[in-house]
Symmetry: C2
Subunit: 382 residues, 2 copies
């Protein structure tokens, strides 16, 4: 292994573009000085483009989970009912947060590796008419599933008065997101995935409907009170000290996205997904999800005749390549490859080449180069 | 193409390890302060290990060419005779420097892509008995040839009193170099190749024999007068302002080399060479050099049925990957891939995967994945 070479292929944190790392090394500025206000003003349109919204994009210093908790505590009062769609570990996290905040949470449990169907949601809403919010995950990081949030939002709107609340942490910025058009009421993401930044920021956007509910919500909250963030943002400010270097980096991330164009960003992620999936198919190694349910940002592979964790160890030890393992009941049973943010088809070719070698090293008898070839064909449109 | 992604695969400048980039961002220090003296003292043993010498390794702020000129002007007086072995563009540069300094330079011209044979040198030295120095290139960057400098040094020593002077710019640090054991009298390298640093430093090491000649040489010289560097280095100092950030980086480079061990550094370069060569052979694309003459640091490929420059353009435009072209009469006829310094087998798999796609894009009908497969087999020892 080459010292100091890390090939980070987990579904977040993801590699940081060099120009973003440079931007983040700018000297500190006063967080109440005009430079900070100008910065907050400047990044607004780029962030709105990422979410497909004309609403304010709120930025909190915190992890993605902070964003999820802020969504729960602002949108739902104690003892109100909510529905949580659980398609993996992060749907489960929404449920736990609801429980911690005395929300009467129902759950729809979908087998890990599958997406929820709008019909399941419809049936549940028709049965339970007091549900105030439906929580769901856009990309379920733990399984690589992309849930059909546009379809679900439609069902929720048609069959209830509930808010549609989406955890978009591991895909917003890499996958098309049309919050306004799709009727999403609250969407959250983090900085460390398709947003090409280190961890430390969470972004939240609320619809007008959601704001009405949140304004009227008298649940005790302080740091997570989104009303204060909205009020301060109107003055290009923040209620509490912002994570300034991450904002410097964010400004550069949005420049890069604009340069590439969002449509091309999404297309690049689609191509990386197809390359990855076709490679494992060519190698006869099962994928956890179907093509239809698969996320453009992360792919879960479910080996039947070798150990996922042994493979990850070989990749790490020999090539400095980090692949993710499974979570909860999938621990040891799958491995996951992140292909989002600052990642390219050339990076896909690299990890496939490495994984093929690692497969041989763990005793899996594959034809070397076959997965790479399948990926190259995808790139060439063949 | 992913904005801000550059895959630098030319034979120098080469990618910089992240820890080296960080080390280089240290604040400036006083170049006459004790910190600089400590730094110069600290890096001595690591540098000596790179060259295989117990002699002082002199460091000049300048490019590799500055080092070549310093070697010429210190080792040879005006009107003395010298022999220059020209196996490519950089042998030719030695010749031009000799001409600029009124040295009676003979040359042995070897077809580009081949190494010189010790017998050719022996024959020349037996015929011309007044030769004071024999100039040669270790790795000829323009062709990817590694000249057998140990054998040539032996012939020079046995058949003349000439000094053996070696341009090691594009390989020292990546290829075994035993200056003392092999009887090299003067060897030069640059910072931007296997030394994993940005351009800006040149390193020179002289044998005791060379020092005797250089001490006695009264040719006018100032910045390039190696005597002043040697005298100052004895006090852990430099005659003129050193390129401090590059020295900060060098300290870290030497740490990385020590961590990996020099034997493993050389083995990694050998593996990268074999992977690259076997890949092109599997794709039926001719290499410029034979296996015997090939350098572990750079491989030149000589297409017969597609344009090398078209291929380079596709790699650059679609993947941000820089491959080098040919120089002088090989311009447009070859392309060159650098695999030295901060480069790993995983990087080789990446550029091969990319080059295969680019080959298809320029109309070359190869079997996708076949080159990658051959490289994987080399890695696996199959």
């Amino acid at each position: 292994m080459l010292p100091d070479q890390q090939l980070l292929r987990i579904p977040g944190p993801t590699p940081i573009p060099p120009s973003v790392a440079r931007a983040m090394s700018r000297p500190m500025i006063g967080h109440r000085d005009p430079e900070t206000a100008e910065l907050l003003e400047k990044i607004k349109p780029g962030l709105q483009a990422v979410f497909g919204t004309t609403q304010d994009v709120l930025i909190l210093a915190g992890s993605g989970t902070a964003g999820l908790e802020a969504a729960v505590t602002n949108a739902v009062k104690p003892n109100e009912e909510a529905l949580v769609i659980v398609t993996g570990a992060f749907g489960d996290r929404f449920y736990k947060i609801c429980q911690a905040h005395d929300i009467k949470a129902h759950r729809i449990d979908v087998p890990w590796g599958e997406a929820v169907s709008p019909d399941q949601v419809k049936a549940h809403l028709n049965e339970h008419t007091d549900i105030k919010a439906v929580f769901m995950t856009y990309c379920e990081t733990s399984t690589g599933v992309l849930n059909p949030i546009a379809d679900i939002a439609k069902v929720v709107r048609e069959h209830s008065d509930a808010l549609t609340i989406v955890d978009g942490v591991s895909c917003v910025g890499g996958v098309e997101t049309k919050m306004d058009e799709w009727g999403i009421d609250l969407i959250i993401t983090g900085s460390q995935k398709a947003m090409m930044l280190p961890p430390g920021l969470t972004f939240l956007v609320a619809s007008e409907r959601a704001w009405k509910v949140m304004e009227a919500n008298d649940r005790p909250r302080f740091y997570f009170d989104l009303r204060t963030y909205r009020n301060k943002l109107a003055q290009n400010s923040t209620p509490y000290t912002p994570a300034l270097s991450l904002l410097f980096g964010l400004e550069q991330v949005l420049k890069l996205m604009k340069e590439e164009r969002m449509e091309q960003v999404f297309e690049r992620h689609r191509v990386m997904k197809e390359m990855t999936r076709e490679a494992f198919k060519a190698l006869n190694i099962p994928l956890l999800t179907t093509d239809k349910d698969a996320s453009p940002t992360v792919t879960a592979v479910k080996p039947v005749d070798f150990s996922a964790d042994d493979l990850r160890q070989v990749a790490k030890k020999e090539f400095g390549m980090s692949l993710a393992g499974g979570q909860q009941h999938l621990k040891g049973k799958i491995f996951r490859v992140g292909h989002m943010g600052y990642s390219s088809p050339a990076d896909v070719l690299q990890y496939l080449g490495v994984i093929e070698i690692a497969l041989r090293k763990v005793g899996k008898d594959i034809e070397l180069g076959k997965g790479v070839q399948a990926a190259q064909k995808v790139y060439l449109g063949q």
